[in-house]
């Protein structure tokens, strides 16, 4: 009850704001050709340069001015500057449509990194990329992917091929809040992480916060990766697409009511299964038995100049069918995410922007297997229903306030199994199918300029997580007994709460350089424990509970930011130190089973990481790109693992070096190259062996005390633009992944052959590697 009262208060607050003698000029800045909002464009007042504003993620800006006559100047890279004179004596809504510069000079801009913003803002560890950035970079099989591009930034690591997890500043893959139009996406990998679920054609841009996220975000301790889907074009029909080596894409954006209502739909599907059907027939399964598809849709509606309504949705699926042992074992597996977001943005009284959203998201994994007359199915899902209310309040030119709340109802089905053998059916051995929880947060933050040189972003977030019944709690005791407690539907099983301060500050040395520092505390109430350490779709998501305490992270960071040559070159160095509590791992002697409570197989420990990230970026001219280098360590300490001794985390990759280059040659040709180098993953190797009843067993070293070979790779691409007409554009891209055919290890294993008694036993260490040199050809078009 109390929760609802506080919620109502938040919604009523805007109307209680008291008036001032400043008027607000606000509106939206958009691209006149695409209708896309222009993010972080500047609009300022010629007569008083201290009165300026940046447009936000939706292209919306707000400026407060006393009454008078002003000249507004709107500025954004590669667009023609717009100027307008006006007399301000009341609140005014003014929208601008900026025209891009002449098409011949297609300057590639890393969107969002305004010449001044990286130095000026009070935010640390924040980076932005647009879908266009990703499209210039060579990609595996020609599948352009922003998640892969993010891994080329310092402080962000992927786990290599075959791993869809992202590791930000030494944190685990479940510690990243990955959002698609505000909907959490729990599993972002297709086909074991070779590709992400984000079809680049459907995405506008992504913002990454490396741990120092402002108070309006919460729920994960290492990062927020915020994807925005492309808006529909409200002016004209647009069709984009492409045909690639393993998949094809099509996007259609159309206005339904010009300038008011529009829809955009995108789809992508792989077709190796279809192409190979005539050629492969194994045991009744024709072709390669795997495919995936992604469908994205968004409807934009602008009922008035102060309202913006959007409905966006994503639906994707991976499907895999296998047969073993002459058809005796058949397995059908499918998994995927489903998201839907309904959002309404309303501008209240010129100083307040209200964003209300209803979000639904679900990730599910299903595996059905049959073996002779045994049939079994395994089901693991997580489903969330969320309501969010976010407010932007322009209290004054010096204080930008944000506040809001978010409520989520979680339904977890960590592991539901069914089996039968003929007429006998087996129970799943789990007392509970569903685990239910309330998850709620309130926040407030203020971005204020203390002086000309000092700016702070100070926020506080309060959240609570309450698991409720119906639930049966099973607690094995040390003496072998098992305590069972039953909870009724809605009854509270366990309650956690926490306060999270979020503070960052910027000291401006001059208009080209600044120091920034930040401190964050973050709580996390959902956990993913990966059996293979590779973020597979069958990894289980669990809520915090009686047996699993919430994860908690502290992060301190400090950075120096410097631009050169009229902001054409950006440079930064950031250092961080991070502590993580209540980290989870499987028990050392865990043998995978599919029944019983998952929590009883987990052990708890802590982790910490620290590092230094260097970043340099060139933003103008025919040759553009960036270089990133991270020097970092990350460790874990668990009383029940490795005899309680400290060990490096598996993805403790000391050096991480990335170079990205994009070169425009003339009007028709673009070349791209990326080079990555990362120290090898930490692994555990056998040091000794012993024999029992003729079988050889391994005696292992301390955990993660050895390293795999370093990972390095060069990718190259070249794009040729076909002849352009007014309506139709096309291009061909030839790319080579892993250009010098480096056999990067996926895993190490020991091959044992022969038997010990004959003296013929040979033990050989081997590595498995996934991708040799791989060329690809893609054709893209826009109509």
């Amino acid at each position: 009850m109390r929760i609802f009262l506080i919620g109502i208060l938040y919604i009523l607050l805007p109307t209680l704001a008291f008036s001032q003698d400043l008027f607000t000029v606000s509106g939206t800045l958009i691209d006149s050709t695409s209708g896309e909002p222009l993010i972080a464009a500047t609009i300022f007042v010629k007569e008083d340069q201290s009165k300026g504003a940046f447009s936000d993620e939706n292209g919306v800006y707000n400026i407060s001015l006393p009454p008078g006559k002003y000249t507004l100047i709107v500025n954004y890279f590669s667009y023609k500057t717009d100027t307008l004179s006006l007399f301000v004596n009341k609140d005014v809504t003014l929208n601008f449509k900026l025209r891009p510069e002449a098409q011949e000079i297609e300057e590639i801009v890393l969107k969002g990194s305004k010449p001044v913003e990286n130095v000026e803002s009070a935010e640390l560890g924040k980076m932005e990329l647009s879908a266009e950035d990703a499209s210039k970079i060579p990609a595996l099989f020609g599948e352009v992917d922003l998640m892969k591009t993010l891994q080329l930034l310092p402080g962000v690591q992927g786990g290599g091929e075959g791993n869809s997890g992202i590791y930000v500043r030494g944190g685990g893959p479940d510690q990243n809040l990955i959002l698609l139009d505000n909907a959490p996406v729990y599993n972002t990998g297709h086909l074991f992480g070779f590709f992400s679920v984000f079809n680049n054609d459907a995405i506008s841009n992504v913002t990454l916060y490396k741990g120092n996220m402002p108070a309006n975000f919460g729920g994960r301790i290492s990062s927020v990766i915020d994807f925005s889907m492309k808006d529909a074009d409200l002016e004209k029909l647009k069709v984009d697409g492409g045909i690639g080596l393993i998949s094809s894409r099509l996007s259609i954006s159309a206005p339904i009511i010009k300038n008011k209502l529009g829809i955009v739909l995108s789809g992508r599907r792989t077709y190796i299964d279809l192409l190979t059907k005539p050629f492969i027939d194994r045991e009744g399964i024709r072709g390669v038995p795997y495919y995936f598809y992604d469908l994205n849709g968004k409807i934009i509606w602008k009922p008035s100049s102060k309202d913006h309504v959007s409905l966006s949705s994503y639906y994707g699926k991976d499907n895999l069918q296998l047969v073993f042992f002459d058809g005796r074992i058949k397995a059908l597996t499918y998994w995927g995410n489903h998201t839907a977001t309904l959002a309404w943005k309303h501008i209240f009284g010129e100083k307040h922007i209200q964003n209300l959203s209803l979000v639904y998201n679900k990730f599910g994994f299903v595996s059905e297997a049959s073996f002779d007359e045994y049939n079994s199915s395994l089901n693991s899902t997580i489903e969330d229903f969320t309501f969010k209310a976010d407010y932007d309040y322009l209290y004054s030119a010096r204080h930008k306030i944000k506040y809001g709340l978010a409520y989520t109802w979680h339904v977890f089905t960590p592991r539901k199994t069914d089996a039968n053998a003929g007429v006998v059916s087996f129970g799943s051995g789990t007392a509970n199918t569903n685990v239910l929880a309330h998850d709620m947060a309130f926040y407030a933050l203020d971005e204020f300029s203390l002086t000309e040189k000092i700016k702070f972003n100070v926020g506080l977030r309060y959240n609570f997580f309450n698991q409720v019944g119906a639930y049966t709690l099973i607690e094995p005791q040390a003496n072998g007994q098992i305590d069972t407690t039953t909870f009724k539907s809605g009854e509270s099983v366990k309650f956690f709460d926490g306060w999270e301060p979020r503070i960052s500050g910027r000291y401006l040395i001059n208009d080209k350089s600044s120091f920034k520092t930040a401190f964050n505390i973050n709580n996390q109430y959902v956990h993913m424990v990966s059996l293979t350490g590779n973020s597979m779709p069958f990894d289980i998501w669990l809520p915090s509970s009686v047996l699993l305490k919430p994860q908690r992270g502290w992060q301190y960071s400090l950075g120096y930011f410097r631009n050169f040559k009229e902001n054409n070159y950006e440079f930064s160095v950031e250092g961080y130190y991070k502590e993580m509590k209540n980290q989870l791992e499987y028990r050392q002697d865990y043998v995978p089973v599919i029944s019983g409570e998952v929590e009883n197989d987990l052990v708890v420990g802590k982790g910490w990481s620290y590092g230094l990230e260097f970043f340099a970026k060139k933003k103008f001219g025919n040759l553009q790109g960036w270089v990133g280098y991270t020097l970092a360590r990350t460790f874990r300490k668990f009383p029940d693992i490795n005899d309680g001794k400290i060990f490096p985390a598996r993805y403790d990759r000391i050096h991480d070096f990335n170079v990205v280059a994009m070169y425009d040659y003339g009007k028709r040709w673009t070349m791209g190259a990326t080079f990555v180098f990362a120290s090898g993953q930490a692994i555990t190797l056998p040091e000794r062996r012993y024999i029992i009843t003729g079988d050889v067993y391994f005696q292992y070293s301390d955990r993660n005390s050895y390293r795999m070979q370093p990972y390095n790779r060069l990718d190259l691409s070249i794009t040729y633009k076909g002849k352009e007409t007014k309506r139709f554009k096309s291009s061909w891209t030839l790319a080579v992944y892993n250009a010098y055919n480096r056999k990067n290890p996926y895993l190490y294993f020991i091959d044992a052959e022969g038997n010990p008694i004959d003296g013929e036993l040979t033990l050989k260490a081997k590595k498995l590697y996934l991708f040799p040199i791989l060329p690809s050809l893609t054709w893209n078009f826009t109509y």
Partner: protein, 311 residues
């Protein structure tokens, strides 16, 4: 089968992958005592002691022979008596006892009946015989090292029935089935072996242990289980038909109850062995019941069944 269900999507990945030899240089590691000890109803205990060797050390017959621990003081206690085991080399034991020992250990030992078998060092006694329901404590001292262990012989569990059904595609092969009635209200663990046309029992290749709750919760239920053929580890195996017996075989099944710690050892050891130590992530540690060493001191409560070939 249970392991397949859990990791087969990874098997797909492995189909896509290529292999290459690499050079790794593991460090020395800790040289530990390895115990392979057994005690079962109506039979004396047998203990084989070896040491763990550096990973790439040679495996010729001399190094195998030098790897047995000789001169150790080994005692077994049943709570009322403590007996010191005598050290024997198997080629000095009478042939009938060697054959029983062969079958017990699943190793073809050298005897008058089997001149090509192995000669091993074993600690045993004729003064103590295993009894159902009792707990046995083992103590091994050598030099200044000491390892201890404890195991129980649970009460045997009788199977409802044992039979074979023909392979779906060929009638030259049969599959062995048992009907198992799980006692309700307690944890039950089984290890099984079988002998084909002989009395030397071998465990199956991949998974020789079962329990009533890891795979599915079957406490108190009666159901049918297919069992796999057991193999001599020193002979070649035809992997395409490995779980099956020939339709002409006389199959003797040895169905043993074991205690929880004994089950955990084989469960973790077999998982480790079958998956090359779970190379995807951190290897599962083998839960040994030997304090201060490696290996197993295991008690068995056996029951025997014979299935004759159908005419």
């Amino acid at each position: 089968m249970k392991k397949l269900l859990n990791i087969w999507p990874i098997v797909v990945l492995l189909f896509l992958a290529c292999e290459k030899d690499i050079d790794i240089k593991p460090k020395e590691g800790k040289n530990l005592i390895v115990v392979e000890g057994h005690i079962e109803t109506n039979l004396p205990p047998y203990v084989i002691l070896t040491r763990s060797q550096t990973f790439f050390s040679s495996t010729d017959i001399n190094s195998i022979n030098n790897n047995f621990i000789r001169g150790a003081k080994v005692t077994v206690s049943d709570g009322s008596r403590t007996i010191t085991l005598a050290e024997l080399t198997t080629d000095s034991i009478p042939a009938e006892i060697v054959d029983t020992l062969s079958s017990f250990l699943g190793i073809p030992l050298k005897s008058a009946n089997n001149p090509d078998g192995l000669s091993i060092v074993v600690y045993t006694t004729i003064e103590l015989f295993g009894q159902e329901g009792r707990t046995y404590n083992l103590r091994v001292e050598t030099g200044n090292e000491l390892v201890t262990a404890s195991t129980t012989i649970p009460f045997a569990n009788q199977l409802d029935s044992v039979w074979t059904i023909p392979h779906p595609e060929t009638d030259t092969l049969v599959n062995l089935y048992v009907r198992y009635a799980d006692p309700a209200g307690q944890e039950n663990f089984i290890r099984y072996f079988n002998a084909t046309n002989s009395n030397v029992f071998y465990p199956p290749l991949y998974s020789s242990v079962l329990d009533d709750k890891s795979f599915f919760n079957v406490d108190g239920k009666t159901f049918d289980i297919p069992l796999e053929k057991g193999y001599n580890r020193y002979k070649d195996v035809d992997f395409s038909t490995y779980p099956y017996f020939s339709a002409k075989d006389t199959i003797t099944l040895r169905w043993c109850t074991i205690d929880a710690a004994h089950f955990r050892f084989w469960s973790t050891a077999e998982y480790n062995r079958n998956n090359g130590g779970n190379p995807f992530s951190s290897p599962t540690t083998i839960t040994s019941n030997i304090k201060g060493g490696l290996g197993i001191w295991g008690g068995y409560g056996p029951s025997y069944y014979v299935v004759l070939p159908k005419k």
